[in-house]
């Protein structure tokens, strides 16, 4: 580098600014809230336990976990092979939906959709281009993913 240019660079004024950090899409507010709403909307009575929410959120989050869960329900995996992570981000997503008056928490650790929540669910559900794979996954396991079955999985009991 010519010395004149180097001097110019070194002597000139400069400032430092913090570069914002990239964030995985599933840690975005909107994504997390939409996932909670989708899970509840596709649950019996638009209502689910926190345990089920955690289970469904964990299994829907990545392609690998989705495949793993499908295999589990198909009998290709044992319940002890499935390690469900209870994630703090999901708790935060639930809190935000609660604050937005979409999902009240009931006693005994259950969450359900309010009327506004159901309307939000309809909107998200109807939008064809949003969360396509997650919706497909929920549809695929809907019949099997009941509270009872999920309880068994979390206790590592045999499914059949």
């Amino acid at each position: 580098m010519p010395s004149s240019l180097r001097d110019l660079l070194l002597d000139g004024p400069f400032e430092l600014s913090v570069r914002p950090e990239p964030l995985p899409g599933d840690l975005r507010l909107a994504w997390g809230m939409a996932l909670v709403i989708l899970i509840l909307g596709r649950s019996r009575g638009k209502r689910a336990s926190l345990q089920k929410l955690h289970f469904m959120a964990h299994s829907a989050r990545t392609r690998a976990t989705r495949e793993q869960t499908k295999r589990l329900f198909a009998g290709g995996l044992s319940t002890s092979d499935m390690v469900v992570r209870v994630e703090p981000w999901l708790n935060r997503a639930i809190s935000f939906t609660t604050a937005a008056k979409l999902v009240p928490l009931e006693r005994g650790g259950h969450a359900r959709l309010t009327e506004a929540g159901i309307a939000a669910y309809d909107k998200i559900s109807e939008a064809d281009s949003i969360m396509v794979e997650e919706k497909e996954f929920f549809d695929a396991i809907a019949r099997q993913a009941t509270e009872g079955t999920i309880d068994k999985i979390m206790r590592m009991e045999q499914l059949l």
């Binding site: 913090v18 570069r19 914002p20 950090e21 990239p22 964030l23 995985p24 899409g25 599933d26 840690l27 975005r28 507010l29 909107a30 994504w31 997390g32 809230m33 939409a34 990545t62 392609r63 703090p88 981000w89 999901l90 935060r92 997503a93 935000f96 604050a99 937005a100 008056k101 979409l102 506004a116 929540g117 309307a119 939000a120 309809d122 909107k123 998200i124 109807e126 939008a127 281009s129 949003i130 969360m131 794979e133």
Partner: protein, 676 residues
């Protein structure tokens, strides 16, 4: 081009008597009223079923009717369930010439459900007379084209000449009725949520929505579009022929461990490029053109042929020395081959990790895109969806589900998407590099293996010489000559085939250039002047209605119809999610009526009837249908027909209809009742 629905009849036979419904439809506006779940949709879907159009709703071969028509119904007197023994739907239709036919199709019946019986007369309204009857079939391959196909018959009856269209695989077919009727029949579920309509895709017709609208509006663009599609298809064929030929060249080059230089993966129209392309073969650690390698080898073979085969005695000392050298050479060659092999394994591992990273990036990109869309639509989803502030304490918050205080500044989702995309580009490039590197290593590995084999053969020959009688001819000298000759032969063969293949590539390139020129010669504008005028009038009718109906998301004059796909748009952007539910209904109503109204002045293929099955209750709560119905009632003076099924409060509805000329078909209980 007219189709009028005169009468619909549903019948269900049970052990306790016959149940059924008879609904006469008049010209102009028909309002079919009954409470929810009393059978309105069953009736209207019965109409579709009678016409063999149920696969417009779902490609599955199931009957779109409720259990009342397919399995059992509750006896209104006793409340006991009664099994349906036999049921059917029939409909009376009239065309522009005043011809009337009656179509009968069994729902639960001993007859094949694919059979449709057509009587040539008004069986339902004038049952006394006798009419000629004929059976047609639906859903079988050819139902739309063959004489005995019901849809062919129905299209003829309406006066439609169905246009040819292309499938995704390039084959030709006619535009099926199932793809046209979504423009005439707005069904309760998917019908209201898509614009212009929910077209079935299982028929594999390209741009099916566009084709259907073009047909209904009878636009000239159709022919041009067909030609364009045909050219596209031929261009695609050319590309695939090119790829096949190039792959062939690659495999031929592989015979001499050579690689292709100067032939792009996609067709080029520069013939000079093809002619100057050549093959490169590995020469130890370097690459050299195959022609050059062959010429060196040719000289060596000539030298060998010129010399006589020496005897063992003359060579024994030299052979001993050469043996020592060769042993060293063999170990060097093996080492080189091993290092190539290791390099290959490294590259393969690299490619695998890049592929994994790419998959993860793709997944994350999708989630960020979802998050972006959800955020943009936030206020439509709920009042406070993904807000910038805490809904409880109103402090500003970051767009993250990590602990708020723990995270540094979070990248905006738009920037994040860009960031992931640029990363993805880098990894895609890395992946392509790894592919090329592996291919080149494979070539060199093959060449190195050849060298090792040759050295080993020579070693064996020399050892044989050293233990042979002194006057026998040297095996080593012969062994060296034969493989060299055969290698030369291979190289020459490969070179010759390569030259031949270049000629066929040139002919593909010439054809490709011709097709590109033909494509350029097609006019840029898809629509003729006449088409444009028609589309302008169509847009005008839609705007006029939007104004009349109180469309409020944005000014009605901003609504445009895309000349590309005929979807409504605003300033070049498709109108979709941002519409309020009631405006979506207004726009949908306006679009379908406009298609019909257009035919009052312009020559179109619209048959002059529209059926609206009211959208689900939730969406209609805040809309007043008065203005919509007023507009629809104009149909009568133009000899057109609108059928609207609703469960709106009867009082409100009577208010709307008080001063309208319409046929009000009200059912107080179930539409299907016991018949005397």
């Amino acid at each position: 081009m007219t189709l009028r629905i005169r009468h619909l009849r549903l019948r269900a036979e049970t052990a306790s008597g016959t149940f059924g419904a008879d609904i006469p439809f008049a010209l102009g506006l028909n309002v079919l009223w009954a409470d929810n779940t009393k059978g309105k949709s069953t009736c209207l879907q019965g109409l579709l079923y009678a016409l063999g159009l149920e696969r417009m709703l779902s490609p599955r071969r199931e009957i779109p009717l409720t259990y009342v028509m397919t399995s059992h119904l509750d006896d209104p007197d006793t409340g006991a369930p009664r099994t349906v023994l036999e049921s059917s739907v029939s409909v009376e239709l009239e065309n522009a010439f005043g011809d009337v036919i009656t179509v009968l199709r069994g729902v639960k019946s001993a007859q094949d459900r694919r059979l449709v019986t057509v009587s040539k007369g008004p069986v339902l309204s004038e049952p006394a007379a006798r009419y000629e009857r004929q059976d047609y079939f639906v859903h079988d391959p050819g139902a739309a084209q063959r004489e005995a196909g019901f849809h062919r018959m129905l299209a003829d009856f309406i006066g439609w000449e169905l246009p040819g269209v292309r499938r995704f695989d390039g084959s030709e077919t006619t535009l099926y009725l199932e793809t046209i009727f979504p423009l005439l029949y707005v069904e309760q579920k998917a019908g209201w949520s898509s614009m212009p309509a929910a077209f079935p895709n299982y028929l594999q017709i390209r741009d099916v929505g566009r084709r259907a609208v073009e047909f209904i509006m009878s636009l000239d663009t159709h022919e041009l579009e067909l030609k364009r599609q045909q050219l596209d298809l031929q261009l695609a064929e050319c590309t695939s022929a090119w790829t096949t030929e190039r792959n062939e060249m690659l495999s031929v080059a592989g015979l001499a461990n050579a690689r292709l230089q100067g032939i792009p993966t996609a067709p080029t129209i520069s013939i000079g490029d093809i002619e100057t392309s050549f093959l490169l073969a590995p020469d130890r650690d370097d690459w050299r053109s195959l022609e050059e390698m062959a010429s060196i080898l040719r000289d060596r073979v000539a030298d060998m042929l010129a010399a006589e085969v020496p005897e063992v005695e003359d060579l024994s000392e030299a052979a001993a020395v050469e043996l020592d050298n060769l042993i060293k050479l063999a170990s060097e060659q093996n080492a080189r081959r091993n290092s190539l092999f290791r390099a290959r394994q490294t590259e393969v591992a690299q490619r695998l990790s890049v592929a994994r990273r790419l998959a993860a990036l793709q997944e994350d990109l999708q989630k960020n895109l979802d998050a972006q869309k959800l955020r943009n639509f936030g206020s439509k989803i709920a009042d406070t969806f993904a807000p910038d502030y805490c809904p409880t304490c109103s402090q500003s918050i970051q767009d993250t589900l990590l602990a708020q205080q723990a995270s540094a500044a979070v990248m905006r989702v738009e920037d994040n998407i860009e960031y992931i995309r640029s990363q993805r580009t880098i990894f895609q490039r890395l992946s392509a590099q790894a592919d090329t590197a592996i291919l080149n290593i494979d070539r060199r590995l093959a060449a190195a293996t050849n060298e090792v084999n040759e050295t080993n053969a020579r070693l064996r020959a020399l050892r044989a010489d050293l233990v042979a009688p002194s006057h026998s001819p040297s095996t080593a000298a012969i062994e060296e000559r034969l493989p060299t000759e055969s290698r030369l032969q291979t190289m020459e063969d490969v070179q010759q085939r390569f030259e031949e293949q270049k000629i066929s590539l040139v002919s593909i390139a010439e054809r490709y250039a011709e097709l590109l020129a033909a494509r350029r010669a097609l006019p840029d504008d898809r629509l003729s002047e006449q088409d444009r005028a028609k589309l302008d009038r169509f847009t005008h009718i839609i705007r006029q209605q939007a104004d009349q109906y109180g469309f409020s998301t944005f000014p009605a004059r901003d609504i445009d119809i895309s000349p590309e796909n005929f979807r409504p748009q605003k300033e070049g952007f498709e109108i979709g999610f941002e519409l309020s539910a009631s405006d979506a209904i207004r726009l949908k109503w306006a679009y379908h009526l406009a298609l019909m109204e257009l035919s009052r002045r312009d020559a179109t293929n619209h048959p002059g009837f529209v059926v609206f099955d009211e959208p689900r209750q939730q969406a209609t709560r805040e809309i007043s249908f008065q203005a919509l119905l007023e507009r629809a009632s104009e149909a009568k003076s133009h000899k057109q027909q609108v059928i609207f099924a609703t469960s709106e409060s009867r009082e409100r509805l009577s208010g709307f209809l008080a001063n309208l000329d319409c046929s009000f078909l009200a059912f107080d209980g179930y539409i299907l009742t016991r018949l005397s």
